[in-house]
Symmetry: D2
Amino acid sequence: MSHNSFGNLLKFTTWGESHGDAIGCVVDGFPAGIPIDTKYIQTRLDLRKPGQSKFTTQRKEKDEVNVLSGVFNGKSTGAPISMIIYNSDQRSKDYSEIKNKFRPGHADYTYYMKYKNYDYRGGGRSSARETAMRVAAGALSELLLKKISKNKIKVTSAVIQIGNEKIENSTWNNNFINKNPFFSPDKSILKKWKELILTHRKKGSSLGAVIEVRVSNCPVGIGEPIYQKLDSELSKAIMSINAVKGIEFGTGFDLVNYDGTNGSDQINFENKKIKFHTNHAGGILGGISSGQDIIFRYIVKPTSSVLSEKNTVTKNFKNTKIKTKGRHDPCVGIRAVPVGIAMTNFVIADLLLIHKSKLL
Amino acid sequence: MSHNSFGNLLKFTTWGESHGDAIGCVVDGFPAGIPIDTKYIQTRLDLRKPGQSKFTTQRKEKDEVNVLSGVFNGKSTGAPISMIIYNSDQRSKDYSEIKNKFRPGHADYTYYMKYKNYDYRGGGRSSARETAMRVAAGALSELLLKKISKNKIKVTSAVIQIGNEKIENSTWNNNFINKNPFFSPDKSILKKWKELILTHRKKGSSLGAVIEVRVSNCPVGIGEPIYQKLDSELSKAIMSINAVKGIEFGTGFDLVNYDGTNGSDQINFENKKIKFHTNHAGGILGGISSGQDIIFRYIVKPTSSVLSEKNTVTKNFKNTKIKTKGRHDPCVGIRAVPVGIAMTNFVIADLLLIHKSKLL
Amino acid sequence: MSHNSFGNLLKFTTWGESHGDAIGCVVDGFPAGIPIDTKYIQTRLDLRKPGQSKFTTQRKEKDEVNVLSGVFNGKSTGAPISMIIYNSDQRSKDYSEIKNKFRPGHADYTYYMKYKNYDYRGGGRSSARETAMRVAAGALSELLLKKISKNKIKVTSAVIQIGNEKIENSTWNNNFINKNPFFSPDKSILKKWKELILTHRKKGSSLGAVIEVRVSNCPVGIGEPIYQKLDSELSKAIMSINAVKGIEFGTGFDLVNYDGTNGSDQINFENKKIKFHTNHAGGILGGISSGQDIIFRYIVKPTSSVLSEKNTVTKNFKNTKIKTKGRHDPCVGIRAVPVGIAMTNFVIADLLLIHKSKLL
Amino acid sequence: MSHNSFGNLLKFTTWGESHGDAIGCVVDGFPAGIPIDTKYIQTRLDLRKPGQSKFTTQRKEKDEVNVLSGVFNGKSTGAPISMIIYNSDQRSKDYSEIKNKFRPGHADYTYYMKYKNYDYRGGGRSSARETAMRVAAGALSELLLKKISKNKIKVTSAVIQIGNEKIENSTWNNNFINKNPFFSPDKSILKKWKELILTHRKKGSSLGAVIEVRVSNCPVGIGEPIYQKLDSELSKAIMSINAVKGIEFGTGFDLVNYDGTNGSDQINFENKKIKFHTNHAGGILGGISSGQDIIFRYIVKPTSSVLSEKNTVTKNFKNTKIKTKGRHDPCVGIRAVPVGIAMTNFVIADLLLIHKSKLL
């Protein structure tokens, strides 16, 4: 039973609401002896932190993480690692209207119907603020993977499409991704994206995005068929991120345009290594990593919080209108990038431990 | 830890290999007092059964299910329900070549690397034959949902694209789906699909397909945020089906072409009911069912078993060529339809029990 | 996979070390709409709090609990409930000797061998200080049971033996239990227990205790056979408490002195109720509650921290001697009483939710 | 959620009723490459098999196990291992009376109240017949432990008390245990036990028993605190066995007669090994194996099925009398011995895999 926990041998549990006192997580099943650099966790959080550029929400949160347990003498002890971030810039007044109305496209209506008593302030538990703790937990799993794989396994991710502006595959540049506020791997598209976002921000609207994740040097054998397949677990992980509406691996939905002859990846043995001619499969065969790069993409819908007036209903089921003022991301997909990286690292670390346990 | 089990409060575990003595499953956590009609389970299995038309594999399996436990006086007892299907048409000789070579696009290479000793005959554990037991388990969960929802909740699914031939949304006809060998909801496309499949079958190739699932009358409130969201659990379920490479909900990947103003579903209260103007969200908000139809699509890649010769490698890591003879589906996506229905029913039944447990 | 979590549909996860900054827990799967009275949780914690009488440890901890999430407008929201207690009186210097030596009877040696890097201060993670958070989580589950059962289900517990001084069954007085520092149900034994404890405290030694738990008005049907039996889950829960070395239900080990004729509980129907003649079974048949009082006992060993010198070994595996100074409980079993109550409430609440989910 | 499954990384699920067609289990998470000798599994089952001497039930079951999946070329493949035993000697007529009456001391009443529709024949799902599949699953885990520990880890178990006749600790002889129908480690007590059992059998009554389990050469470090402690998991396992009413580790309940000075185990380093002076702790400190022998005892109550007439109630809640004829064990504790061994092997194998997964 997971509810608010994710993972198996390695597991994290998050807690906290957008406008409560604090948010936090507990990472359990973390091996002892792993160097834990709190500053590194903070750098990962800083990548997701709001209020950093005019392309993201103007809510200002320091997102300063405290590690409260499970670390001794700079290393993990095998005990649960508890982390906490105190909320600082809640400004609850901005959200007063949502006390009585359901924001279209948000979870207000379903939370109300399921729980009746729920914390509506800033979206409460359903707010993407929860994803900060995924980044913290993901950073821990990254430190674990670094240690186990001797720095080999590397998860990279970038935005590849905003609105209808998509990068060409050939223009992907790993080194550029963290050097621009869009996590774009392609310098040439920046101008278009800036214009798109500023235009939408100005009119109080928002944009969707497609994000790609690539994992290099993942060893062969990660993933437990039939119901803990690597792609199955990654899908569960990514689809749990706010606003994500789809995921595809390798050639994905476009595979419907291929046939059996050209849609699978032929194999050769070269220089003492298995070499796949192509990567339609996205690095996963039968739910198990094949040693190729693991590649997948996911779509983050445009934020539903926009300035234009929309039809909705009150908690007393009267028809009404709503404009969501607040401070919102014009393209929330951008800030999803570090979250997707975190979840990917976590899934791989968890499945790696499971795989390891079965080796004689 | 799931491995070969799926579900939480309601759980099934499958076992068995394609060319072993039998395949089976155990369904646990099933409430007592539900009428169990074995014939109904059989009719669901028959929909997936191989060898029924020239558009699917020619392997002949009766797929006759036996219920071995958990049912007494025609009703469930709350004890685990064990079901078994004996394999009858294994013809192992057809697969002799795969003993020493890895079939491209299949799990042979990854299973060999992960397990060393694995049953390669007919793909063994990684064969889609395993999905027969999902259909059996799914049929049980369907009987449970029927009872709980008084026949209201209904999962429907159809193939909406084969190769590059896609149906128009407006042509969807529920009643036609089970009246044609393609599970097509659109009579007008049949001719094109027949031609496509027969052409590919003739040249020993295969085709991909896109499948859509629709759930009607799912009550509001199903799904447990943050890590047991309804879409997250459905994605895990569907992505665990053989050859599936992507999934999307509601408007899915196409949402990148919408903005925040037109990409969310406005709400009204009409005739004492909540009414959504559109269904971009696919019936799920914040991971919880909204009462709208739940809608998602998934891509099934073209079978990798084709007659054209491909490059591959032996278990001794020598380069070689392979042609996969055997008896294969020219469009395996067709037979995935009842499997997707089964998994969807199971996920909803499981999450419904969880939801119910928390109601005071 | 549980590690530091306990429960199924209702689950808590604890974190924190004896001499770290704080200890805490996250309770997940808690239904929405339950009134949460933080003061009540505090009163439960106060029962376990150290430093309250000369019969327990002199460590002074306020054990002030903060609820950080999951509660809104005084009621639970269905979101995880995070609670934290900051440590205030750590006095690490008292424990400096245990940095390099293994205390006999404690977990030092096994933690060192398992984790190498572990927090030895005050026993770190293995300290009974962790049980404070069980009491907090248990108090929440008690509030839930009160609501669901309309105040009917009631867990009572008392010390029934300290050293070789045991109460007579006939002298059990529910009302007296919370009116004395020993949680004794029998006023007449107090004098003997006081003398025993003060004598042992004076010579720096300690005493074991036997504790009995009684649950009244538990409805019939709680417990899920075969591997979530009520007695099985309670045993797992109680045996996880520090220093507990055994548990027995109903007549327990003494049943070996009965035969099949007199060792089972005959049944009658009287005044529209099932009436059992005796309660050898402890209120559980086939792992399911029978409606009788659930009765079990557990043994808490004498604290191993004593002033007399003992043989032990250093972390460099040299033979040495150790005296454990610190501030310790002369009879740690006394403070286990509220912990056992908490775990019992939690197990019953969890299994009650599971049972409820399966009712049609 | 376990219900009818036991274990974590290594898990088994049992199914089947006493008088149904068959009973079976699925063992999941079993590593690949372990030699699986079906004959060995059969020898373990034969130890528990009914009808072997006049000291056990006269029901005749061949208990012939079939392995249906997960084994290829004589070795495990990492896929789930399904095992089945067909029931042969059901004789349902013997149990006709229990269709309408609740047998005192049995689960009839609680199953009826929980499930309404349940298989009452021979106790159905609540029958100890289910434990045959635990023995089969336990045998697999034993094969796994043999391989991993190079035949070092060894679980031994014996009956140490029947009725009021108890063996002396000093008379324990490992080699004698499997050479007598009582699993007695002490030849000198056989005469008394025979008399006791034959006397009770003659008058249609039954006897309780205490069983001791010893695990030698378990490595240090097995067990995951706080809620997967080795003793906690073993208690859960053993308490799930039919008719078990208590468990204690090491000195157990008798520790209440010790004080902190003499009740803990002092340590020395001798001949390059840690040596404990005593074993009050039963080989477990802080929930983790210490390398000492793991020692625990459990009580199996006298079978409630006896020939003397008892008061009970019908399903219509009328008072009535019942005599349980059938074929029953005069001392069911004897046949519990191989079941306790199986569960112990399984717990240790499971926790060993978990421990292994965290080693860097």
